[in-house]
Symmetry: C2
Subunit: 648 residues, 2 copies
């Protein structure tokens, strides 16, 4: 122990020896970690690619497929359109990559959409970005896990009826892993990511090789459930093409991940992160094109029962053998890891927003394993709810997805464009410290502003196309949800601000010293518990009123007699209660006393509180003390004291 005496105040400082005990939680998520244990590690480009690209790369498992599902409405003859659409998506990918590369260099401390929007455009756009991102992370979990389960079901069709249970089970598994707070996440991530890269790369290259030599055959027994659904075909319309394009853009979700996590990279951070981003985009783009071309050639049909990936792989390898199972396993694992990314991002963002006072502040407290446990739990619950509601169907979830992603892309790019504008206006050697970064003059600010503006514009267009074409399919939910979230953030913020003002000690003058103390002691009988409370009350004041709410004349008479013996001369107030109410007459009496209270006077309600030894015994007693506290807690200048009394 360490004692400091200063200015008359004694300060004792001590570290507790308290060691958290081993409980079932220890078994589930590991022993609690001390704050000093917080991990600090830096990763290189190879590991960085593994850690940050699972979200983006895994989206090739559902992006091309969802595009085909829309085109299916116009019949298999419209599937060829998926190739030009895939090229368009790749162009968008290039724009995004260039834009984000600039963000990475401008925000070496991490440049998520929330921070970029907050620094460059103010609170309101930042909150919109936060709302968009939070919904987006939830949907990442729901979509990735559902798609992962769809891969499993493709390989083992008898599991189809258990898909919801499997999906929720996977969400809970990922939740547990994150509650544990895996320190060595880097290396653990590298193996499955590179396994997926290799398996998908081999499949695509071998497929293209067979295509070139003309030995690639059509899919054997393609599933036909969706094609049968569309017995009456729609014509190929602009609307349909734009809708298919929207579905395809879901393949770009996750591109922003590296720009959020720059601090994890080794120095020179921004350079390493930037190079990793280019690699990732190149791989994503080639996978996207490769899968589209091959799926078209083999005539894969989109289906709820077997994924495009599954059809493609078994056609390329001509069997459902070891290579097929390995590729499906790799795809499933990378999809689960994409969900894992959201489990890292959602709690971090909600802690950031909570720390700024727009969400409950508890979200910013670290749990026993140094992770934001509350955010992790909330994400798991909401995502599981979505999976159950949409029965783990990727196609039904997709219309909700990607609006949030592209809204946050657009806000982030707009913020960056605004930043270059400010940078251009800055004198040559001036530096401005903003909340999330340092702003300096950049000689190339004009060209950089053009790049980010192009990014902002194109992602905004995609978002609008998405919201329009998918509105009735479910996008309306997000269109209404994001403003309501922003409204909630604002309400919470107003609450915290008012509270801070109300608690502030600025302009605070001390209240007069309490000179008079009135004690009101509600009693239900005269027994040892009552006398213990009375003994305590005597230390507070000489002005004690025991109050008894009388419902039965016989009992009241007995009580009066007992009080005359044991009440030590203190006042007993008997309130007749003709309606057999307990709390209301008492409150009325307290009110009356309160009206005549003076400024230097305080009223204390001393409540004898009986505490049974067994919890179930609580059901055998009217919880007067609890009810009274709830009724009185909203009153000013009334203090409630519980004098517990246990019987052994």
């Amino acid at each position: 122990m360490n004692i400091e005496e200063k200015d008359g105040s004694t300060v004792l400082r001590r570290t507790t020896d308290y060691q958290p005990p081993r409980t079932w939680r220890t078994w589930l998520i590991g022993r609690p970690l001390s704050t000093a244990d917080a991990p600090h590690q830096a990763i290189g480009k190879l590991i960085g690619l593994a850690v940050f690209s699972s979200d983006a790369l895994s989206s090739v498992a559902y992006g091309p497929q969802e595009m085909l599902i829309i085109l299916a409405a116009a019949g298999a003859g419209a599937f060829y359109l998926s190739i030009p659409l895939a090229i368009a998506i790749c162009v968008l990918l290039i724009i995004l990559t260039l834009s984000y590369e600039q963000t990475i260099h401008a925000y070496p401390g991490g440049g998520g959409a929330y921070i970029v929007a907050r620094d460059n455009m103010g609170d309101f756009p930042a909150l919109v970005a936060a709302a968009a991102l939070l919904t987006d992370y939830i949907l990442t979990v729901a979509v990735s896990i559902s798609s992962g389960v769809a891969q499993i079901v493709s390989a083992y069709p008898f599991l189809y009826r258990y898909r919801v249970e499997i999906a929720v089970g996977l969400v809970l598994m990922v939740m547990l892993i994150n509650l544990r707070g895996v320190k060595e996440s880097g290396k653990a991530f590298a193996i499955p990511t590179y396994f997926f890269l290799i398996m998908m790369g081999v499949t695509i290259l071998f497929g293209l090789f067979r295509l070139f030599f003309g030995t690639l055959n059509p899919v054997v027994n393609p599933p036909n459930d969706l094609m049968e659904l569309h017995s009456i075909l729609q014509p190929v319309s602009i609307f349909l093409i734009l809708k298919a394009f929207s579905s395809g853009t879901t393949a770009l979700t996750g591109v922003e991940a590296i720009s959020n996590g720059i601090t994890a990279f080794k120095e020179p951070r921004s350079r390493n992160a930037g190079i990793t981003l280019f690699w990732m985009s190149a791989i994503l783009g080639s996978f996207l094109l490769g899968i589209s071309v091959l799926a078209n050639h083999v005539g894969a049909l989109p289906s709820e029962e077997e994924t495009i990936i599954s059809q493609l792989v078994r056609t390329v390898f001509d069997s459902r053998g070891v290579l097929y199972l390995a590729a499906i396993a790799a795809t499933t694992v990378i999809l689960v890891m994409a969900a894992n990314t959201a489990f890292a991002d959602f709690p971090r963002l909600s802690a950031l927003v909570g720390g700024d006072g727009f969400l409950p502040r508890q979200l910013a407290y670290r749990g026993s394993r140094l992770v934001y446990s509350r955010g992790i739990g909330a994400l798991a619950v909401i995502a599981s709810g979505l999976i159950i509601f949409f029965q783990a169907s990727v196609t039904r979830l997709i219309p909700l997805y990607a609006i949030g992603v592209f809204l946050s892309f657009s806000l982030s790019q707009t913020g960056m464009a605004r930043r270059w504008w400010k940078s251009g206006k800055l004198a040559g050697n001036a530096e401005v410290q903003e909340r999330g970064s340092k702003l300096v003059h950049d000689p190339h600010w004009q060209s950089k502003m053009v790049v980010n503006s192009l990014g902002a514009f194109s992602t905004a267009v995609v978002m609008l196309v998405f919201a329009t074409t998918k509105f009735i399919d479910g996008a309306w939910i997000i269109v209404f949800l994001i403003p309501s979230l922003v409204f909630s953030f604002w309400t919470i913020h107003v609450h915290y601000r008012k509270l801070a003002a109300g608690l502030s000690l600025e302009h605070f003058t001390e209240q007069p010293r309490i000179a008079r103390h009135r004690v009101i002691m509600p009693i239900g009988g005269v027994h040892r518990g009552t006398l213990a409370a009375l003994r305590y009350a005597k230390t507070l004041s000489d002005d004690i009123s025991a109050v008894y709410v009388a419902m039965d004349d016989e009992e009241t008479k007995k009580l009066k007699e007992k009080w005359e013996i044991w009440g030590d001369g203190n006042r007993l107030v008997i309130l007749e209660s003709p309606y057999r109410l307990f709390v209301e007459p008492l409150l009325e009496y307290i009110n009356e006393i309160d009206v005549h209270r003076q400024a230097n006077e305080i009223i204390t309600i001393v409540v004898p509180e009986f505490v049974p030894r067994h919890w179930w015994a609580n059901a055998l007693h009217t919880q007067t003390a609890v009810i009274l506290r709830l009724a009185l807690i909203f009153r000013k200048n009334i203090v409630i004291t519980s004098v517990p009394y246990q019987v052994d």
Copy 2:
């Protein structure tokens, strides 16, 4: 207000002017009634018959039918057995009537099985009787309502699929009526009961008339669902006959009702009640025999889809016309009223048992309408649960029913026999005041003892037959439930007894006056709320320790500085919490202080408790005060004081 000064204690006595406000509850169950409003009315024999006989008379709606359902296993050829069985049941009814007539005269204050068993055999048999009766009342509600719904469904078969919803709706309706506490229940009951008596009487008489003149035809289109079920017929065995007899005895449930409610009759109470009992039994017996004979003659088939009553009535009147509908309506209404009787008895008995300390005492408190609202609510919830579980099927509920009834019959009659024995041993003019009645010498004690012994014996035999033949059909539930209920009663009683001993002021010596007061004040920051709590703490003691659980060095430093300005020289204890735990380090610190506590010393924990203006804002704050109270409430000699602080 009325002030008495006596022995140095001032006693203030006052009646509150508080008028309960009008709320949605007022609309639902009526305005609260003052204790002085308790009704006192006495009823004559005609009204008495109406009030107390609905339970007994309504059982003819299911008793004969359930008998036929059992016999159906041996084919329609075995149905003729229902007539001798009905005669046997009538013999049992005569024994019961004579027995209960004696109870009525011995217990003019009301002689339910619980009271009779308690007075004459002690607590344990009384508790068995209480357990039996309480289960029985619950089943009366479930069976009567289900049978009522079966009548409705017979008349309107399309309602079959909504039978569970209708049944639960009726239970809730009866619950509401009872929560209202209908004062003028007597007259309101007379109309439907006599309506039923007339309709059933007319049906039976007209049916016998047509039978006599040979114009009574067989049922047109009898339902055949149960007969088809028994495609392989059993032989007629003793077991089957006893089982059918057991089912039939359910028609006797409710015979005891008058003996419970003697106080409601006009003087001479016992005589009036006794005569009413004879009338009721006579009507019940003739209905039972009449229905059995007629149902046999017309060849009515037991069914889940149409009741025997419905088949009988439409055959006697040759149509589904007005008379048919009136008879079905009357049967439905009397069945619902039988449930209503249980809603009067269950709360009254549970209040009695609760008042004796074998059930939560709250059951003995009257609600706003002067009825035992908690008992009424509990009954509605449990009975609805049973109806939902057994899908409102009378046949599935019947095996649970009647064991409890006959167990309580038997205990009550055994108690009475014991009472006559005691009465015989008494001197000619001696009087013994027992808890529920006055015991005097009876010159005819021997013959009366024989009557009650016969009643006790025959009902015990019926109970054993019932439990044996229906064991696997569901009676086992009751066989296990009643002992567990008795065990719970006993556990509750032990709790109350221990508590009373622990609270008793006998052998109590006053504790030394509290001479030293230590205040511990957990704080989360230094703000107006903290200072309000500090201001209060200063009135308690000079020995104040503000305790801060430190998780972040920066914040701790700020807090220390603030405390040096505002802490008024009081001690500040900083507890470093490396695992970011809040409550545990605090408890450890309090423990340490507590260990050195002296007998005349008390520790008060002063907790600044922030109270938001909107309830939802609670989600935005860690509920430290609540958690702390829960953690400390089990400790002795530690008082918890909440100093509420509201921000406006």
